[in-house]
């Protein structure tokens, strides 16, 4: 005989539902996506905390890399992707070098950032870099003060990159357009400006 299993006490049922680990939108595919994009084995984590202990961002913020790995394992997609701490990782890879389970927590963060971007969650400075590279090929483009300095050093005023050879820029734009990156960056920055 199949029947619902409960305490027969609505008040107690509600209380149980309030427990922080009871999350009914847990998504197992979140873990799978993170592991695929990050090319690492998040599910091997036993929560020792070596990563957080090695992290230069942890002592000066609420960012806890261990928590993000746990969120990956539990499939807490929304909790992970909407937390602004996601963007405090400097990608120094100290956690990765010290992880006793051979996981790359840094790459878990990178994967989560990729997934957050698909939800239009991304700090503006990242989008501005896309616009700069689309325009000039450089994330940090040349300027006149620097051109004068280069000339003084006997270097060409513009380096032999896309700056001196702008004919290479359309190829770069094609790559970025293939992934609709410029389009999305423009749209998100425009929406922000409204």
């Amino acid at each position: 005989m199949a029947r619902e299993k409960n305490y027969g006490n609505p008040q107690l049922e509600n209380k149980l539902r309030d427990r922080y680990y009871y999350v009914d939108d847990t998504k197992p595919e979140f873990l799978a996506n993170v592991e695929k994009i990050g090319r690492t084995i998040a599910h091997m984590c036993y929560q020792c905390g070596t990563c957080t202990g090695s992290c230069p961002s942890a002592p000066r913020s609420s960012y806890r890399i261990r928590l993000f790995v746990r969120r990956a394992v539990l499939g807490l997609e929304e909790e992970a992707l909407t937390d602004p701490d996601l963007w405090l990782c400097t990608t120094c890879y100290s956690c990765t070098d010290r992880c006793p389970r051979d996981i790359a927590p840094t790459d878990i963060i990178m994967a989560m950032r990729n997934l957050a971007f698909k939800w239009d969650i991304i700090p503006r400075n990242f989008l501005q870099t896309v616009q700069l590279i689309y325009k000039s090929g450089h994330g940090v483009p040349n300027n006149d003060v620097n051109r004068a300095a280069r000339e003084r050093l006997g270097l060409p005023r513009d380096p032999p990159t896309t700056h001196a050879y702008p004919e290479f820029i359309p190829g770069i734009q094609k790559i970025l357009d293939h992934y609709k990156l410029k389009e999305n960056a423009d749209r998100m920055l425009a929406e922000e400006g409204k």
């Binding site: 230069p56 890879y93 940090v140 990159t161 790559i175 992934y179």
Partner: protein
């Protein structure tokens, strides 16, 4: 690949050519003195910035970095570069695509649109590792090239993150207390001082400098405290982005935290240039935010 001539395609990146051109000039001239020739990698772009682009979409990062690698494949020449961030993009994407058929096929599908194909025929090196490698140059050859030893100066080496870490994907060995760049610095006649938490990040990477400058500078400040504590006359690094974080960062730290260090920050190539007799003008040290004079007075 480049035979006995030690020729390399010189991948410039962004910050060296466009903010600290002295690093570029120094790389070309110092390497020539030890028998390494750097040739321009025409049409190269931003590596692209691993923190910014990798965070948005790793597939775009693979494709954009692969385009730069293919430019060198077309020259049939290994790449050398002088920035840890560039190393992460160019070395790592080259490495990944050589060993991951699925990702390589995905990248080549996109590169086809611009008549390019990643073949995996070249290698990528940081110029500092070429300097250290006895098969190419080596510490002794660096020492022999010095005409103005940096005797009497104390220099703190900042290794940065993306050259040596993650160690299991790299070939540099220990990442807790490496000494190879310290050895290069001592070959110039300086004393390479040891300081607390030497391998800590400068604070700039992962897009954090652009996202939360105060958080970023707080990490930088911790490093500066540790470097100052041991009485260093200058910081040296092998990454123009770390250089920017320490150099311009000190101005920002003074503004935001009210703390002044006045600690000169020089790329290893600039340091080597000085030791080989280049003048501060030839290195455009005047473009540095922090005045290098206190350091220069000790050696000139």
């Amino acid at each position: 690949m480049s035979g006995n001539k030690h020729q390399y395609a010189f991948f410039l990146g962004c910050i060296a050519p466009n903010r600290y051109p002295g690093c570029e000039a120094a790389a070309i001239r110092t390497s020539a003195k030890v028998g390494i020739e750097l040739l321009p990698l025409k049409g190269a772009s931003c590596c692209p910035a691993p923190g910014a682009f990798g965070s948005i979409d790793l597939n775009v990062w693979y494709a954009m970095a692969a385009r730069n690698v293919v430019l060198a494949e077309q020259m049939n020449m290994d790449i050398t570069l002088i920035c840890n961030g560039c190393y992460k993009s160019i070395w790592e994407v080259n490495h990944i695509l050589k060993h991951n058929d699925e990702l390589r096929d995905g990248v080549n599908e996109v590169l086809k649109e611009i008549d390019m194909e990643f073949k995996g025929t070249i290698d990528v090196w940081h110029l500092a590792e070429l300097y250290y490698d006895p098969a190419i140059c080596g510490v002794d050859k660096i020492r022999a090239s010095v005409t103005r030893p940096l005797t009497g100066t104390k220099i703190a080496v900042h290794y940065g993150c993306h050259l040596m870490k993650p160690k299991k994907e790299r070939h540099f060995g220990d990442t807790e207390n490496p000494m190879w760049v310290d050895e290069l610095v001592e070959a110039l006649g300086a004393e390479a001082v040891q300081y607390r938490n030497k391998m800590q990040c400068c604070g700039a990477g992962g897009g954090v400098r652009g996202f939360d400058i105060v958080h970023s500078l707080d990490i930088t400040n911790e490093k500066l405290i540790n470097v100052k504590e041991v009485g260093a006359d200058a910081i040296t690094e092998v990454c123009p982005f770390c250089q920017l974080e320490y150099d311009r960062g000190q101005i920002e730290i003074a503004e935001k935290f009210g703390i002044k260090y006045g600690l000169p920050v020089l790329h290893f190539n600039e340091l080597l240039g000085l030791a080989q007799g280049m003048s501060p003008q030839e290195l455009a040290l005047d473009l540095h935010a922090i005045d290098c004079k206190p350091f220069l007075e000790k050696i000139l």
